[in-house]
């Protein structure tokens, strides 16, 4: 099996924001520096794609792939949640979960909205744990679906429930200060989770003599198992610090089915906001506009500047592009780049990728100091490693 670095599934909007490309950016860069394969997971099912034709969804994926390529951050393999191979595996995964007693059929009181975007266990101790928390709104003690704007109705139904007490196996995180948070999330995931759906859900499985519609989030969360069947060993996963919950959830479920997912490192990126400086500058949060306007290297430097590992929230101003252009125009003052072919260790690569180092590098170039280029800086400049 090939070791790989992977990001959790991304939902592709019609216009890709710069922040969305940050995790695949890290996946691609670490892959190039360490020599492990890069895998970008993509979610092409679910609420965000409702009403779109299949060709429109395919077009979004193609545009996204092209955009990453144009940024100079190509990906070796794309894992897609709607891929036929993965869908075919779901039945077996569910049967295995039933066999180990983690998946059960139960009469349960549920809360469901009119459109079906929200379905949750009525007695959920922590409603936040529902994967639909983004479409829930609490008003005067009642829960509403923000999509259909209707209150949730109580229904007693036969449901598929997943045991969500996840095994006690610590995760290595980078930066290490996220380890406590990840562990706390793992411990808090302790209630049975509803994974069948009455209204929404395109995947179906047959269990307990009945056909069930599955929750889309549950289906993609089995991605680590699916990747292993595709011949990849996910040894590193990249997530934004706003996606720790889905990480704990998906890894927890996948670990119920496989013992081979023990040694995994999680790279947690800060939450980076890209802000426009001057009014006449392009929308700095729209990746395609930025590449069209400035080319790939300044935008790689812009994104790299945001990876300040010691911070949880980072704001990158578009003025960074101005300084990056100045630095790039003095590229000739750099000393001979590091062209060594030996793969770096993960920790070496990540230290090199610190956003503060990138900022210092840009400043040094602007001051016309002679700067030795690290291998990461070679990549940012578009030079081959």
């Amino acid at each position: 099996m090939k070791n790989c670095i992977v990001c959790l599934p991304l939902t592709i909007p019609s216009e890709v924001k710069t922040g969305l490309a940050l995790t695949p950016f890290v996946v691609s860069m670490v892959s190039k520096l360490t020599g492990v394969a890069s895998v970008c997971c993509v979610n092409l099912m679910g609420l965000r794609y409702e009403g779109l034709e299949a060709n429109e969804i395919a077009q979004r994926l193609e545009s996204f792939q092209k955009l990453l390529y144009r940024l100079g951050t190509p990906i070796d393999h794309y894992w897609i949640d709607s891929n036929a191979k993965h869908i075919a595996r779901l039945q077996r995964y569910c049967e295995n979960l039933v066999m180990v007693g983690e998946l059960q059929s139960r009469q349960t009181a549920t809360l469901i909205c009119k459109c079906g975007a929200v379905e949750m266990v009525a007695e959920a101790l922590h409603p936040d744990w529902s994967m639909e928390h983004k479409v829930l709104r609490r008003e005067k003690g009642n829960m509403f679906c923000v999509l259909c704007n209707m209150p949730l109705e109580a229904k007693h139904k036969l449901c598929l429930m997943l045991e969500s007490r996840f095994v006690d196996r610590a995760l290595d995180t980078f930066p290490s200060f996220y380890a406590k948070e990840v562990e706390a999330l793992r411990r808090e995931f302790s209630q049975p989770l509803l994974i069948s759906r009455q209204k929404k859900g395109d995947y179906r499985v047959s269990l307990f003599g009945k056909t069930w519609r599955l929750d889309t989030d549950f289906c993609w969360s089995l991605l680590f198992c699916s990747l292993m069947e595709d011949g990849f060993n996910p040894s590193v996963v990249v997530v934004s610090n706003r996606s720790l919950k889905p990480l704990v959830w998906s890894l927890g479920i996948s670990r119920k089915l496989s013992d081979n997912l023990q040694n995994m490192t999680v790279i947690v990126t800060p939450f980076v906001r890209f802000e426009r400086g001057k009014p006449q500058s392009p929308r700095v949060n729209m990746l395609q506009e930025l590449i069209d306007r400035y080319g790939q290297s300044p935008i790689r430097l812009l994104m790299a500047s945001g990876l300040k590992w010691d911070q949880k929230d980072v704001v990158v101003s578009s003025s960074t592009i101005f300084w990056a252009l100045k630095a790039l125009s003095r590229e000739s003052v750099t000393t001979t780049p590091d062209t060594s072919k030996v793969p770096l260790s993960l920790s070496e690569a990540l230290q090199m990728m610190g956003g503060n180092l990138v900022d210092r590098f840009v400043t040094d170039l602007r001051k016309e100091n002679r700067v030795p280029l690290s291998r990461y800086q070679n990549l940012l400049f578009g030079r081959r490693v």
Partner: protein, 251 residues
Amino acid sequence: MNRESIQKLGGKVVSAFGAENVVCILLHGSLLFNPHLSPQDADLVVVLKQKDRGDCVLLRKLIVQSRLSRLPVQLHLVYMEEIPANADFFSLHTCGPFFICHLRQAEVLFGENVFDAVSGPSDYHLQLSLLQKIQQYTFQLRNLVVKTGRISEGELRQARKRSIVVLKDLLMSAGKIVQQEGEIVLEATDHFRDFLPEELEFLQWLLQEWITPSSDTATRKFLQQCLAIHERAYDIMRKQMAKNEKCRFLS
């Protein structure tokens, strides 16, 4: 049909020069962005790695063989060694550094779009090159209005096209790269409120199907209206540039 022929021509260029020598072939211009407007030519950029004295002759031969007689090919041949890493040093035909941004939106018929790897242009050079292009178009159109002889159909169509192109340039100076004519007019007149009602009306008329002016009087009136749009765009651009301390206009 045109697109297919262009694709075939691209294939022939790759066969003739060798895939290892062709960096990229790019399609840009109206055939790509406004095909519904009966484009007058097909705009291609061919980027080669190695220079040979016979390259232009060979390209011409391939274009003749492709029989794109109804659609003349505007082909720009560029060599890798001629492409600056910094877009501020680039120009192609009548276009300065800003044209790199335009070429980044081209359709790649072969290879990788090499202009993504070029950095910039800087804001200053982008604005400067856009100003110079609008200047050039405006002065050329003034010459045409002054011209005493017959005005050709081609000259009229060019005046029409450039009346929208100058709006596209204004939008680019404001950070928006828009390619479709309808969207250009809509966005530019929405963003820049300097246009007079009769100019706005004329711009809407320009978006309709092309009809050749029926008389010399109509031709002259049409050119005057186009010039008004050019001059308005030039005026807006000058005001924008005057904000920069390096740029001052005599009053």
